[in-house]
Symmetry: C2
Subunit: 408 residues, 2 copies
Amino acid sequence: QPTNGFDQSYRDSSKRKRVMVIGGDGYCGWATALHLSKKNYEVAIVDNLIRRTFDLQLGLDSLTPIASIHDRVSRWKSLTGKNIELYIGDICDFEFFSAAFKSFEPDTVVHFGEQRSAPYSMMDRPRALFTQSNNVIGTLNVLFAIKEFNEDCHMVKLGTMGEYGTPNIDIEEGYITITHNGRTDTLPYPKQANSFYHLSKVHDSNNIHFSCKTWGIRATDLNQGVVYGVRTDETDMHEELCNRLDYDGVFGTALNRFCVQAAVGHPLTVYGKGGQTRGYLDIRDTVQCMELAIANPAKPGEFRVFNQFTEQFSVRDLATLVSKAGEKLGIDVKTITVPNPVSKMRSTITMLSALSLSRLHLMAHIFITSYLYFLDNVACCFAENVDWVRICPSKSLKKCKARPKLAQ
Amino acid sequence: QPTNGFDQSYRDSSKRKRVMVIGGDGYCGWATALHLSKKNYEVAIVDNLIRRTFDLQLGLDSLTPIASIHDRVSRWKSLTGKNIELYIGDICDFEFFSAAFKSFEPDTVVHFGEQRSAPYSMMDRPRALFTQSNNVIGTLNVLFAIKEFNEDCHMVKLGTMGEYGTPNIDIEEGYITITHNGRTDTLPYPKQANSFYHLSKVHDSNNIHFSCKTWGIRATDLNQGVVYGVRTDETDMHEELCNRLDYDGVFGTALNRFCVQAAVGHPLTVYGKGGQTRGYLDIRDTVQCMELAIANPAKPGEFRVFNQFTEQFSVRDLATLVSKAGEKLGIDVKTITVPNPVSKMRSTITMLSALSLSRLHLMAHIFITSYLYFLDNVACCFAENVDWVRICPSKSLKKCKARPKLAQ
Ligand SMILES: NC(=O)c1ccc[n+]([C@@H]2O[C@H](COP(=O)([O-])OP(=O)(O)OC[C@H]3O[C@@H](n4cnc5c(N)ncnc54)[C@H](O)[C@@H]3O)[C@@H](O)[C@H]2O)c1
Ligand SMILES: NC(=O)c1ccc[n+]([C@@H]2O[C@H](COP(=O)([O-])OP(=O)(O)OC[C@H]3O[C@@H](n4cnc5c(N)ncnc54)[C@H](O)[C@@H]3O)[C@@H](O)[C@H]2O)c1
């Protein structure tokens, strides 16, 4: 039975100190790796840099200039004296991944390392298949490595709130208690994913849940909301540590796109009616949540699910809040509606449950303050980097010649 | 909303006549292909013969001698004058599969073509990954081919009752209506798969459901119970048309194993408590159900789910019924309990719903009569072929050197 409970024997966080961050060159992973390193964890980054390859293939780039992973890690070392181990390779390659795992001996694996763009997964058949294959095979390899080399290793997996879809009932944390024809059971919350990418996350969750029950693995599935922001205390320490910020139609996400649109005077593009409720969180809260999940691991055999977000809004409400933030900074922000390129979603206001985070005493950033800070920063420092083609919603994404290979 | 309804414009089955049977060299597919051909459908078989390769690799074989797919199809033609098109290749290879699809122009695809053994999928990491990759990528390719070449083509997919797991509430057909915190919705029935194979079926169901909603595809997911028997009217016509019958610990399924065990005087091996309720059906009913599903297709955009079985029993009850059938034939049948090699399942008696089949007026075979017929046939004709090593439960399956490649 899921308890969202914490294994008391590990409350002393000095017991879990070696964290392997898969996807640690990406948006969430890089910020997390630095935060953990700052807090005296031994950190390794595993990444095959495929995300940077997608930028090259699709003619996209981060708004903020980012250094190579080698320069990033080197700069961190010279500023702090702390080492971050680098393993450059594909986790779908078990020979590579098992060697990295055996070499670094993590007690925790944080798995960010997936193809996470819904529009990318919907561009064409090869990209849909790549997304599912990369994500599902990668996650299976992590599970098998844990089983084979250290079954006590805690897996912290990034899921997504999008796995739940838009049901007409409240969304709970991973499980729901159902009474049917006179009997009752607590079962996995039904999933209704909205793209081949979101489906891959559902496949992952199902595979991990089974592995916990069957092999006694400890795993936490973080169904994270949409992350916004770009700065953290650690990335602020030097320009070479700067995190990426995506605002294009493929990899850009709602609030980041709105921020860049507002900063340059482009109207906020709201897809469809914009009525759907979603959860959001500042990247400074992402990294806090990661540390809380690591320091309070799941129990052996437990498939623990957290809905990881700090506030919930409809997209239309967000556009209004962004406009207000703009006003405070003297920016006139307009909104326009465009057809939803991915798929039709029902416009329902749903209560999203994120009880576990309050139990962990997360000190969350307040949206309106955070967002002001974010918008101000982007508007003053990066507005001139904006590519006006990328800022528009992607109507029809041009096919590229370079096709990703399926996981071997 | 799912209706388990039938598209009235296609009640006249002469409108859907071209059926592509993927996995048509296998146990269910071969019987189905012949049955459809006998009923004047134009039939194509698509198969890469990987199932036969597994036999070679693991040192297994069908109890009944089977001809090559080429001899099978050739014999059918000389007996009936009917052609069955043969496409030998891997559906994970889209170049091959799209050429077959464009060449044959099916209006219905029946998809049996997967790695369907739970024990096989649990042998080791490469086989677990192969199972998921082969099954998920194959199904995605079928969906994309339908979308690209004939979006009106009806996909009849073999799922499995095992997707539901063993919940403490009644199992419905694919969907469940939930009232929660004052609101109600009909959502996909929560899945709790029990092996990497069963998980791959859950991934398939989720992928197909999304494709129906997004692309307007017509699909029927047949969550089939455990099939037993070996003879159908068509396979009876000649020994070269004989179907395979597996009784080993990897590919043999409950009732087929019990039948062979009983026929040779080996005790029936019941895994664990044997209390779990499962659905069963005679292979002569499988082929009828396939035709009913084809002649009454799902509507465009509908993800229709049938629980395909005719009777439900606990495994322990089955052992008792098999013993009784044995008695009638003068065979003394004993039962022994062995630990469950795949995983622990809760022993709950659950009502399984299979309402749709009765609406389709399936003329089901009665278990006790069918089973007597089956046991008698096996005992008198094939008992001497039995390999006594294969008949035992597989405690630890020997690793083979030949490793399957993941889907490209
Ligand atoms: N950004 C968000 O708003 C958000 C919200 C919810 C959940 N998430 C989840 O968090 C995770 C990280 O998101 P992100 O925004 O940092 O994505 P990102 O694309 O910036 O980072 C992912 C990283 O993983 C790497 N990677 C991908 N496949 C790999 C493989 N097979 N082997 C090795 N490395 C591989 C990429 O190169 C990249 O550096 C994803 O799983 C995503 O689903 C993100
Ligand atoms: N046998 C049962 O009791 C039972 C019960 C419920 C559901 N099912 C389902 O029915 C389907 C068929 O079962 P079966 O017992 O006939 O299995 P089977 O193994 O006898 O037949 C499967 C066939 O598919 C082919 N195949 C597999 N992967 C392929 C690929 N990538 N490309 C082309 N061909 C491929 C194999 O070579 C084989 O001939 C499976 O999906 C199974 O899950 C079977």
